[in-house]
Structure formats: structure tokens, C-alpha cells
């Protein structure tokens, strides 16, 4: 039925953003997989030569920021820069929505506050893991007490980010259209109006007939 006026689909993630996301995801996967035998050495013993596992972990760790940084630079980085601006500066309504764990009305932006927070936590944690990981690899300038601290901070942040990533993956698998946007880049205009009405407004996607803005907004907050 001709519910939709205007374009049928809109671009949510550029090709650059998608490549950066999936390269980043692959690096995180390798880092988590290699961290297991490094961390639980006495349980796993000798799955692989430890030195090889260490080198894979080290180089994937050093490579982790590369896809993200490259995707922000240059002319191809414009969509990434625009999205990062959205993610880092929130409206008061978004802060309130997160504070009340989604129980306040919100006309969601391109990303909802949960998605924004996930992005920020992953970004900040990458920097923490990179810094502490470098301290573990090139430890000689640091006092022994700091090396001990860096070991524990690295382990704890790694554990925390693994939980965050697991939740992210579960949410992606239970929201296949959101996941599809990260694979193919586009979402339907109807999806955008339903889950990202603030963004849909910016794109000039008209509300479907017979539905008020208020109903649209309520849809977002209902489970």
C-alpha cells in the first residue's frame, strides 16, 4: 500500500562506515579469542604457542583504532564525522531518557541514547585498552606498581567491553532490520520514521497518513 511518500529507503551507514564497523568487529573478535588463552593460561595451557597468540593479540590491538580513525578522515569521512557529532552531544531529553532507562517519551534521533552510549563506551574503552596494553608491552619506563595497575585495568576494561559487545550482538540479532542497515547500509523510510523519527524529520520523510506525531513517538517508547 502507498503508505510511504518520498523515498522507499534511506542511507543509514555509508560504505566507509560499514567497512570500518566490520573490520573493527573482526579485530575485536580476534582480540577476545586470543585474550582467552592469554588470560586463562593455566586452564587452556597450550592451545597454541603462547608467543604467537601474544603477537596476534598485540598487532590486532595496535590495529584496532586504524579503521575508525581512517573512516573519520578525508572526504569519505563526512558521514562518520556527522554521526560522531550526533553521538557525542545529546539533548536534555536524551539524557533524561537514559536516566529513566527508556521510560520517558523521546522522539529519537538517528541513534537512540542506548546506541549512542554504546558507541562512546566502545570508543573510550579502545583508548584505555590501547594505552594500558602498550604499558604491558613496553613496560620498562613505568614503575612496577603501575605495571600491576595497568594489568588489572586492562583486564577489567576488557571484561567489561566483552559484556557490552555481547549485549550489542544480542540486540543486533534480535533487531534484524537494524542489523541489516549495518550490512546493506539502507533502511526503509518506514523504519526510520518508527525508530528514528527525529532523523526522519531531518531527511524530510513525511509521516504516514492516519498517524500523528504523538503516536509515532509513543511507538518508540513502547516495547
Amino acid at each position: 500500500m502507498a503508505r510511504d511518500s518520498g523515498p522507499a529507503t534511506v542511507l543509514r551507514f555509508s560504505a566507509t562506515q560499514r567497512v570500518a564497523h566490520w573490520v573493527n568487529a573482526l579485530l575485536f573478535l580476534v582480540l577476545i579469542v586470543t585474550a582467552i588463552p592469554l588470560y586463562f593460561g593455566s586452564l587452556f595451557g597450550l592451545v597454541l604457542e603462547r608467543h604467537v597468540v601474544e603477537m596476534v593479540h598485540l598487532w590486532c590491538g595496535l590495529a584496532l583504532p586504524v579503521p575508525l580513525v581512517v573512516s573519520m578522515l578525508g572526504p569519505w569521512g563526512a558521514p562518520m564525522r556527522a554521526d560522531l557529532a550526533r553521538v557525542s552531544r545529546w539533548s536534555h531529553a536524551e539524557v533524561e531518557w537514559l536516566r529513566r532507562l527508556g521510560r520517558s517519551a523521546l522522539r529519537a534521533d538517528k541513534f537512540n541514547p542506548g546506541q549512542k552510549l554504546n558507541t562512546l563506551i566502545v570508543g573510550a574503552t579502545i583508548l584505555v585498552l590501547l594505552a594500558t596494553g602498550a604499558m604491558l608491552q613496553w613496560f620498562s619506563p613505568f614503575p612496577v606498581a603501575w605495571r600491576a595497575g595497568a594489568t588489572d585495568v586492562h583486564d577489567l576494561f576488557a571484561l567489561a567491553i566483552t559484556v557490552v559487545i555481547a549485549a550489542h550482538v544480542i540486540l543486533a540479532l534480535t533487531h534484524p532490520r537494524a542489523l541489516a542497515a549495518m550490512v546493506r547500509g539502507r533502511v526503509s523510510a518506514a523504519w526510520a520514521r518508527r525508530y528514528a523519527p527525529g532523523w526522519a524529520d531531518e531527511l524530510g520523510l513525511e509521516a504516514p497518513r492516519g498517524s500523528t506525531e504523538r503516536e509515532e513517538a509513543e511507538k518508540v517508547t513502547s516495547p
Partner: protein
């Protein structure tokens, strides 16, 4: 009301949540790094050993092996060869070592990269007693160690080798040294970082110069004192 709110949102000054998340996680991590050692002992009090051993702050050895395999040596087949600048070369069995006077130590095992395990019990023979048994010849300066893994090597100056808390250990953590911890017999150099405590000790050679070992050729200090100093002499002597 809702519409007003929407209009308000647009004109509103935005909240710099991104900056706040980055600054708070960064500050948290910095505090963790700087206070790490102190937080560690506090967390150990809470978690205890047992299950606590699985958590980042727990008492946990991280098992390293250079070759990717743990040499398997039975207690019966074990021999410790003592050679080089000695009057009486030895091939000591585990029973020979156990028959010698035992040294017991309880120390924190400290890795140079930061992790540590407090209160580890050790038992073995003072290296000085083994050197005495073999009889060090004039001109000897240092001692080189090799491992049954055919890869790891270590070294100590003769003075370091004669410190009372340098032992050839056959018991650790209240039991015979396990294969993954370097059993049946390993070196334990208590005043230095873990990498000096060579596992699966196979041979001791008394030599006329310090031969840097595996880790030292890979960038670790030859003298890895726990206080971080790297000179040849025991830093504890200055304090006494």
C-alpha cells in the same frame, strides 16, 4: 507540551555526553593504573584465593612457556647436571636434592609485566649449597642455567647465585612443582622478577662471564631486581 518539548530540544544547548564518557573512563583507568597495586591487595582481601583467582585482581599465575609446550620429565628420570668451572661435576637426581638441607621461602611471586601472586610457598635446596658440593674453581664469575625446554636460559653472577634466597626448588604451593610451573625442579630467584626463575631446570654451568639468558636477549634487564634496579649487586645490601 510534547511539541514545546521538541522545539525546546532543538534550541537547547546540547549536553557534551561524549566528552564526559571519555573523560570519566580515562580518569577511572588512570586512577586504576596509578593505584593498581594498592587496589589489588584490597580486592584480594575481598575475593580471597579460590574463585577469586579467576578475576583480574585475583591471585593467579599466568603460565608462560617460550616453546609452546611443557617438557614432560618424570621425577625418576630427572637429572640436574652441574658442570663448567667446578672441581666435582654432578648429575643430581631428585632424591639427591631432597636429601640435602631444605630451604623454605614464602614470597610474593612478581612478574616484570605487573601481575603478582602473594604468599607463594617454596621449598628446595639453596643454590649456594649445590655450588659448594660441586666446588667452584678459581676464575668463576657467573652461573648459567638451561632448561629441559631447550629454549630458556638464565644467568646470575656468582655473588647473586650465592644469595640465601636463591633456590633450586622441588616444592611450590605446598606440593611438588607441577609440570606447568616448571616441575619437577625449577630455579627460584626470590629477589628478582619471575623471568629469572627458570623453569624445568636441566643444567647449571659455572662460567667465567655473565651470559645473558633468553629473556635478557629479548630486552629484559640482566639483573631484574624486584625494586626495579638493574645493577649487579643486591639492592637490599644497601639498606642493611
Amino acid at each position: 507540551m510534547a511539541d514545546e518539548g521538541e522545539e525546546g530540544r532543538r534550541s537547547d544547548a546540547r549536553v557534551p555526553v561524549g566528552r564526559r564518557v571519555f573523560l570519566s573512563l580515562g580518569a577511572l583507568a588512570t586512577v586504576g593504573v596509578v593505584l593498581g597495586a594498592r587496589l589489588q591487595s584490597a580486592a584480594r582481601g575481598v575475593l580471597g584465593s579460590g574463585i577469586g583467582g579467576l578475576f583480574p585482581f585475583g591471585d593467579r599465575f599466568r603460565i608462560y612457556s617460550i616453546t609452546g609446550s611443557y617438557p614432560a620429565i618424570t621425577a625418576e628420570a630427572y637429572r640436574l647436571e652441574v658442570s663448567g668451572l667446578v672441581k666435582r661435576p654432578q648429575a643430581l637426581t631428585l632424591a639427591d636434592l631432597e636429601a640435602m638441607p631444605a630451604t623454605r621461602l614464602v614470597r610474593t611471586f612478581q612478574c616484570v609485566t605487573g601481575w603478582s601472586v602473594p604468599g607463594v610457598e617454596w621449598e628446595g635446596v639453596a643454590l649456594s649449597a649445590i655450588l659448594e658440593r660441586a666446588g667452584v674453581r678459581p676464575g668463576a664469575v657467573a652461573v648459567s642455567f638451561s632448561s629441559y625446554d631447550h629454549a630458556d636460559t638464565e644467568s646470575l653472577t656468582l655473588d647473586q647465585a650465592r644469595m640465601s634466597d636463591v633456590i633450586v626448588a622441588y616444592r611450590m604451593l605446598g606440593a611438588p612443582v607441577t609440570q606447568e610451573h616448571g616441575g619437577p625442579v625449577r630455579l627460584y630467584v626470590a629477589p628478582m622478577f619471575g623471568y629469572k626463575s627458570l623453569k624445568w631446570l636441566s643444567a647449571i654451568r659455572v662460567v667465567d662471564r655473565v651470559e645473558p639468558g633468553f629473556w635478557e636477549r629479548n630486552g629484559y634487564p640482566v639483573n631484574g631486581w624486584l625494586d626495579g634496579s638493574t645493577g649487579p649487586t643486591d639492592p637490599r645490601l644497601g639498606l642493611a
